[in-house]
Amino acid sequence: MPNNAFVNFLFLLIYRHRVKHSAIFIISTLIVTLFSSVMLLSNALQKEITSTLSAQPDLIVQKIRSGKAVDTPMEWADGFGEIRGVKSALPRVFGRYFYEPNGYYFTIVGIDPFDTQATEALERLLKGLDVKAFLSQDSMIIGSGVKTFLEQYRYLEHYDFRPPHGGRERVAIFDSFPPESNIVSNDMVIMEIDLAKRILGIDEEMSTDIILTVPNELERDNVMVKLILQHYDIRVIQRDEIAKAYKNLFNYKGGLFLLLYIIVLVTFVLILYQRYSMISSTDRREIGILRAVGWSIKDVIKLKVMESLFVALFAFGLGLLIAYIYVFFFDAPLLGALFFGHGNLPGDLQLGRSIDLGMFSMLFLFFIVPFIAAVLVPVWKIAVVDPVEAMK
């Protein structure tokens, strides 16, 4: 256990040699900031998506033709609803609409304002909607990202959609969602179901897919078998699978970055090794003096390792702090855009501020281990210099 005097002396030395340490310190801080930001961001996004997905339906049924999902007949929902264990079966209408001016996609979601909504999330979004006013003309409720884009082109009152079958559909902007709702509603456009079908080019008796609520987890496999017995040409998607697919995606984006980042880290480690291997005659003399007044090789190694460790820890702490502020207080400008692959609209999202123990230890190990590994050999080299020679 290093005693007080030892630590005091350590700090004194670091303070006296602060110019020598500053370059390493600054680079280290930058490196920590960079990868902590990416990791914190990808972790926060994963969490965001998980919480959004928990509001997703238990099972989704799509009609499949030649391996691709096609529109699903709405009447199927009645058949599915009769299967034991299925609490409800609802057809959904949604799709992507290409917004030409910016080259982005909106997600159009069709709703029946009188019915229960397909998901809890939608239900929450639409709470308190003035249905009468909403239905009095063709109108829509838009996500904050969509709003930003429409406003850029001065579409403040309404927007003219162009359905695939030709013509125009003028839709009034009824309302918009508050920006902090979440990722999924960012690029969303909600409108009455028949209007949505017209704009998306879906036939009247068709829907995009059918969602089932199956409260009992153990019942789901059974239900899936019965679904396939009713219609052979379907695909059934479970919610858990979607969650995992999303997680994979985000984890891999982070992972791919990590692989690139390792190259940076290795370069840094080599520089560090070089830097610490340059032993000046002053350094040698200092070690010689310490050895002469009774310090052992072990003591000197301890001093030198702790010196590096202190620089590394301080850089790590500062880097992490900067990353935390950058991601959670400033919502990660620039870097954020890299991760919003699917939400291609400007994301005004509030990320949940969180850093768990595992995340922290991962960041910590990832930086500290290579850092200290790089200085071990140089530290040893300087600690075992012959004291008599060193002081000459």
Partner: protein
């Protein structure tokens, strides 16, 4: 009554031992020093007297022979133990003082105690006593690089005393001092001897030749003791 505190027998120190250019820095050294004695090792530079001091101080290892200091055979101690030996038994004073220029006097004096596990308070107390002994207390917060040659040496003396060693080894202590400071150093030596320290001084300064407190004068030439 006073026993031999230093016993050196058949000591050899050879560089490049197995090569053609083998160099005998020390050969067949026999030396005994009683506790409390002041011994002058005299010889030109390169004669091997510094090497002998380094070996007695366990700072370098002999090629053969035995070195017993304060009842311990230090010829073949692992580093952890030879360091412990230096930390408890030896005080070094070097020709070029060898201080940390960036640190102040107090921190330099405290250096030998920092790694020992003593508390900062105890260390400060011991350092204060040592600085008092070496007459450098008034400069305790000054950086070493701002000190004069004589002050630097007094700082070095304080550092050598702070661990309360039995033996003090001085390597050319007056080589970088003017005559005034050299005389002051000799006064200090007298004080140390009065304290009962065993002192070895390696020097070629004629100032030490007529010293009345010297117990023995040992001449070293080409790594051998003569006369």
């Amino acid at each position: 009554m006073s026993q031999n505190i230093i016993k050196v027998k058949e000591l050899n120190k050879v560089y490049n031992e197995k090569a053609d250019n083998a160099f005998y820095a020390l050969s067949d050294i026999e030396l005994s020093v009683k506790a409390g004695e002041l011994i002058i090792l005299k010889g030109v530079s390169g004669s091997g007297k510094s090497t002998l001091l380094a070996i007695i101080g366990a700072l370098s290892k002999p090629t053969s022979g035995s070195v017993e200091v304060d009842g311990q055979n230090i010829a073949k101690l692992p580093d952890l133990h030879s360091s412990m030996f230096r930390a408890t038994t030896i005080g070094f004073i070097f020709q070029s003082f060898d201080l940390f220029d960036e640190l102040d006097v107090h921190d330099n004096v405290a250096l030998p105690l920092v790694h020992t596990g003593l508390s900062q308070k105890e260390i400060d107390k011991k350092a204060a006593i040592a600085m008092e002994l070496a007459h450098i207390s008034h400069k305790r917060t000054q950086r070493v690089k701002d000190l004069s040659g004589g002050e630097k040496q007094r700082c070095a003396i304080a550092r050598a005393l702070v661990n309360e060693p039995k033996i003090i080894l001085c390597d050319e202590p007056t080589a970088n001092l003017d005559r005034d400071n050299a005389l002051k150093f000799i006064e200090t030596l007298k004080t140390l001897k009065a304290l009962g320290k065993t002192i070895l001084v390696a020097t070629h300064d004629p100032l030490f030749e007529q010293l009345d407190i010297t117990d023995a004068m040992v001449n070293i030439e080409n790594g051998k003791i003569v006369g």
